[in-house]
Structure formats: structure tokens, C-alpha cells
């Protein structure tokens, strides 16, 4: 029996509004929302890591793995077309599983690191993937390849309906991820995360394994990033090695800091805001866009260290 708290009810309501209202939106906004949701999932994973006191500058690794996974497996092992995964639900999930397996392996090493060493080592791993991909001709080298889906849950989808179907799928996935993470953060394991951030030695003295919690959270974050990467690949229809470049990971960190870690909705909102501003900025200020980002990041760090979400909290307390 799932206890219905305020956050859960709000999210359920939001899902219904987003899915039904989305049908009325023009195509380009639907595309933008899918992109923002996909990236938002990555940032959701970062929220979990940041609550644990860790900042990863290498989530691009799992994001890229998730985007590449389904088609790459078919290409590398030269599977016949009948075994190719081309389902809009299965593809991101498969990406999440692949990312999770890699995170399980890397986690044994990364769980020993904190602060900037964690950031730098995760960055190094994402750059290893980048270096591999730009030289792998079977995966299109630096050009990457195109990605498309044909079915949803086994049902073939007409070309005209593809965008909206993907929109609905990504909304549902974001909803499930948010509710799942929200529940997790309230569980025993979830509550250990901020304790580790505050003082991990005390957590050890209390009888919990810090390494284990960090390892598990790292895997969860990777799975979220993998699923997000899979969604973004389907939405843009194309993948290339830049997905693993460290500046991609930097962008996720930016969005995570922008939103803050107070609520599981914050990363998704921040991601929507980010993609919306980005699409406008590319049009009007292509050469000053990063500068705007940098200044915004500084302002958030200085004046809203808990992220934009803290504005809502402050108002709620005053009222």
C-alpha cells in the first residue's frame, strides 16, 4: 500500500495534465519536452548523488551508453534484424540496464572516492568511452548513427503518431522515476544519503556501510542516466560520441545545481527551463550563450545555494 503524500498526488496530477495537454502542443514543443525529460532523468540521478555528497562530472558516460546501447549491441554482435530492439519502451530500458551493469563494475572502484576525486575519476571514465567511440568504425566513429523506433510495447506505430507516442512514453517514464526516487529517498537507504554527506564516519559507527550505499546510489543514478540517454536518442533520432564528452556531463551538473536537491521535481523543472532557454538562446545569442550559463551558475551558487527550488520552499514557510 503506497501512502499518498502531497508530492505523490501532485506528481500524478501533473502527469495527467502533461500527457493530455501535450497532445495540443505544437510538434517542436513536444520534441523539446522529450529532450528535457530525457536529460531530466540524468539530472534526477545527479540529485541522488548530490544528496550523498558526490558530484559526478561523468554522467555523460551512462547517458551515452544508454543512447548507444540498443543499436550498438545489434551492430557489434551482428545480430539479425529480427533480434534488433526497436521498441520505444524497451530501448531506453535496455540502455538503463547496460548503464547499470557498467556502473555496478565501476562502482567497486568509484565508491572509494569523494569530492573532487570522485568528480575527476568519473570524468576520466566518460572520456575513455568518448575516446573509444570516436575510433570505432562499426559504430560510425565520430559521426555516430541514426536511431529510430518502430513499435511501442509491441504495437506498431504510424509515422504521424510517433512523436506524441514518444512524448507520452517519456512522460510516463519520468513520472515513474520521480515517484520511485521519492519513495527511495524516504526509505532507510535513502535517508542514509544525507547522513553520509554530513559525516560518513559517524554513519560507519552506526553500523551502516558507506561504500554499499554509495555503490547502490551510483548504480541508480547510472540507470536513470541510461534511460534518459535512450529517450534523448529516440527523440533526436541520432547519436554521436559527443554525448560522452565531458562538457555534456558539465551541462547536467549545471542543471542539477540550478534546480537544487530539495525535491525530485526540481531536476525535471530545471531541465525544462534549461532546454527552453537554450533553444531560445541558440537562436538569438549563439556566441554568448555559455556566458549566460556561467553567470547564472555563479548567481545561483552565491544567492540560492539550495537551487531555484528553494524559492518555493521559502515562500511556503513565510505563508
Amino acid at each position: 500500500m503506497i501512502a499518498l503524500d502531497r508530492t505523490l498526488m501532485l506528481h500524478g496530477l501533473a502527469l495527467a495534465v502533461v500527457v493530455i495537454g501535450g497532445a495540443l502542443l505544437p510538434d517542436w514543443i513536444q520534441g523539446l519536452v522529450i529532450l528535457a525529460f530525457g536529460k531530466g532523468l540524468v539530472v534526477l540521478g545527479l540529485l541522488l548523488l548530490m544528496r550523498t555528497g558526490l558530484v559526478s562530472f561523468g554522467q555523460g558516460l551512462f547517458y551515452c551508453l544508454g543512447a548507444y546501447a540498443a543499436v550498438s549491441v545489434a551492430r557489434i554482435f551482428t545480430l539479425p534484424d529480427s533480434l534488433l530492439i526497436s521498441d520505444a519502451i524497451l530501448m531506453p530500458l535496455f540502455g538503463g540496464i547496460v548503464a547499470g551493469i557498467i556502473a555496478l563494475i565501476l562502482g567497486f572502484l568509484l565508491a572509494n572516492y569523494r569530492a573532487i576525486f570522485f568528480a575527476m575519476l568519473s570524468l576520466a571514465f566518460s572520456m575513455i568511452l568518448y575516446g573509444l567511440l570516436i575510433k570505432m568504425s562499426v559504430l560510425g566513429s565520430s559521426d555516430g548513427f541514426n536511431v529510430a523506433y518502430t513499435t511501442v510495447a509491441g504495437v506498431a506505430i504510424a509515422q504521424s503518431a510517433k512523436l506524441y507516442v514518444l512524448y507520452a512514453v517519456s512522460s510516463a517514464m519520468v513520472f515513474i522515476a520521480m515517484v520511485g526516487l521519492h519513495r527511495y529517498l524516504r526509505s532507510h537507504m535513502g535517508r542514509l544519503a544525507p547522513a553520509i554527506r554530513d559525516n560518513e564516519l559517524r554513519v560507519e559507527y552506526m553500523g551502516s556501510s558507506v561504500r554499499y550505499v554509495i555503490h547502490v546510489n551510483f548504480i541508480i543514478a547510472a540507470v536513470l542516466a541510461g534511460v534518459g540517454g535512450g529517450l534523448v536518442a529516440l527523440s533526436s533520432g541520432h547519436v554521436d560520441p559527443d554525448l560522452a564528452y565531458w562538457t555534456t556531463s558539465g551541462e547536467f551538473v549545471f542543471v542539477a545545481v540550478l534546480g537544487g536537491t530539495a525535491n525530485v521535481a526540481a531536476p525535471i523543472m530545471a531541465s525544462l527551463l534549461f532546454e527552453w532557454i537554450k533553444s531560445a538562446a541558440y537562436q538569438y545569442a549563439p556566441y554568448t550563450w555559455q556566458m549566460v550559463l556561467g553567470i547564472a551558475l555563479l548567481l545561483v551558487i552565491m544567492f540560492l545555494p539550495q537551487g531555484l527550488w528553494s524559492v518555493f520552499n521559502r515562500q511556503a514557510k513565510e505563508a
Binding site: 571514465f125 572520456m127 551538473v253 556561467g294 552565491m302
Partner: protein, 298 residues
């Protein structure tokens, strides 16, 4: 045999660039505990300013040999302008925050500087090739190298020795070591810690820009050079141990040789071989090769 010789020589030339850039990064970290992501942009800035100065110099037909001086004037200009601006204008408000927050702050500076460079110089590539061929070539076992590259190795060695001489033999250097060892006690003893931070950051900036200025004659100067270099410089200092001067030298040597070996024997693994080595080093020496033990804090 020639193969091995060229791997070694190419590796050492590459090591020299890396060392000059990485030593600035490790210096700033050692003193201020800031892993400066903007270091890559300052490196690019040095390259752009040098390329511009050299371009103007040669278009006026001035004495070509004097253009070498410009490669040192450019980093001094960049250091004196950008160093105090970033340290006094921004970083000093951030001291005392988490290392990871400071990392994000310098990431923001990197984003801003990237666009400043694009605004000032545009997105086309620049080049300052003239000084590169000016001194002629010499050959080693039948392989041709420019004397410019040989001089570069000398500059890198001089930078290394100058820094360690200042740190261990001069009064100011010893005071700086005291600041690194314990900031609070140093302040209590009357050392002006803020002045040391300002000077350290400015010198670090100059070193980044010097690396850029010395690279400029060799490569085409493009906007993406900063973000490419910063991750390499990270790899160097992390391999060597953050904040360690000999560590930066050893890290640069390892990365330089690994890269040149990869370029010669297995070009398809060039990019990731460096990060693979970094990951391997960290698996066995989690804080780098030259790292001191740290007490656990309860």
C-alpha cells in the same frame, strides 16, 4: 630503434607543454585548494593573445627574432589582467566553501571565458606559425626536429627549477609553504594569506597562458582548445598527486610518453589511453603518485 627514439623525443616535447600547464594547476590547488577548471580557458587565452601579438608583429615586418619575446609577454599580460580579476573579483568571496562548490565556480568561469574568447576573436582559427620554423632544424638519428621544440624543453625545465627554487630557497617561498601547511596558524603568525592567494593565482594563470603561448606557433588556435586541454591537465595532476610539484612533472612525463607511444604504435587508442593510465594509477594510488597521507577527520 628510430621508432623508439622518436617516441621518446615526441613524448618529451609533449611532456614540456603539459608540465608548464599542469604545474600552474597543481600550484593553485596546493595553495588555495581550488581545482581550477578555468585553467583550460586561461591556456586558450594565452594562445590567442600570443597569436594576435605575433601576427601584428610580423605584419609590420619587425625583427622576427624578437617575436620570441612576445611569447613571454603574452602570458604576463594575460596573468596580470585575468589573474587578479578572477581572484579579487570572484574567488575571494568563495573561500571556505566546499572544494566541490569551488570546482563549480571555476566551471562557471570557464563557461564565461569560452564565450569571451569567441566574442573577441570569433570562431575562426588563428595561427602564429612564424616563430616555429625560425630557428631551423636539427636531426636525431635521421629524424628532423625543430630547434623551437628543443628550446621548449629547456623552458619547461627552467620553469620547474625556478618554481622549486622559489619555494624552498626564498623567504617568500617558505612563507608560502607555511600557508599550504596550515592556513589559520599562518594567518595568526602575521602572514598576509590573501596576498599569497592573489600572487599564487596570478602566477598560476601566467603559467597556463605561457603553455598556451608556447603551443600557439605549433597548432591552429581554435576555441575548443581550452576544454580539450583542461581534461588532459587534470589527468596529469591527478596521476602525479594534486598539489605536488614533482608529481606534476612525473604525471606530465607519463601522459606525454603514453600519448606519443600510442600515436606511434596504436593511433586508434590515442585519446583514451591517457585516461586509462589515469584510472589505473588511481586504482593503485587513490590520491596520485606523490601524495601525503591524510588523517581521518571525525
Amino acid at each position: 630503434m628510430t621508432d623508439l627514439a622518436s617516441v621518446l623525443i615526441d613524448g618529451i616535447i609533449y611532456t614540456s607543454y603539459l608540465f608548464i600547464i599542469a604545474v600552474g594547476l597543481t600550484l593553485i590547488y596546493g595553495v588555495m585548494k581550488i581545482l581550477n577548471m578555468a585553467h583550460g580557458s586561461l591556456y586558450a587565452l594565452g594562445a590567442y593573445v600570443a597569436a594576435t601579438l605575433v601576427g601584428v608583429w610580423f605584419s609590420h615586418g619587425l625583427n622576427p627574432y624578437a617575436s620570441f619575446a612576445l611569447l613571454f609577454v603574452a602570458p604576463i599580460l594575460v596573468g596580470l589582467a585575468a589573474g587578479p580579476l578572477i581572484e579579487r573579483g570572484l574567488l575571494r568571496f568563495m573561500y571556505g566553501k566546499d572544494e566541490i562548490v569551488l570546482l563549480l565556480v571555476t566551471y562557471a568561469v570557464l563557461l564565461i571565458l569560452e564565450d569571451v574568447i569567441k566574442l573577441v576573436w570569433g570562431v575562426e582559427s588563428y595561427s602564429a606559425y612564424q616563430p616555429y620554423g625560425l630557428l631551423g632544424n636539427f636531426d636525431v638519428a635521421g629524424l628532423l626536429y625543430t630547434k623551437y621544440d628543443a628550446l621548449l624543453v629547456v623552458v619547461a625545465i627552467l620553469v620547474g627549477f625556478a618554481l622549486s627554487w622559489v619555494l624552498t630557497q626564498t623567504r617568500q617561498g617558505k612563507l608560502l609553504l607555511a600557508v599550504i601547511h596550515d592556513r589559520e596558524v599562518s594567518t595568526a603568525m602575521g602572514i598576509n594569506v590573501h596576498r599569497f592567494y592573489l600572487v599564487t593565482f596570478t602566477v598560476g594563470t601566467m603559467l597556463a597562458a605561457l603553455g598556451g603561448a608556447l603551443v600557439a606557433p605549433q597548432v591552429s588556435v581554435v576555441p575548443s582548445m581550452g576544454v580539450e586541454m583542461i581534461v588532459l591537465a587534470f589527468a596529469v595532476v591527478v596521476i602525479g598527486g594534486l598539489g605536488s610539484l614533482p608529481g606534476a612533472a612525473l604525471g606530465a612525463l607519463i601522459v606525454g610518453l603514453v600519448r606519443s607511444a600510442a600515436v606511434h604504435y596504436a593511433p586508434q587508442v590515442e585519446l583514451f589511453s591517457i585516461y586509462l593510465v589515469m584510472a589505473l594509477v588511481l586504482i593503485f594510488r587513490p590520491k596520485g603518485l606523490f601524495s601525503a597521507a591524510e588523517p581521518r577527520k571525525i
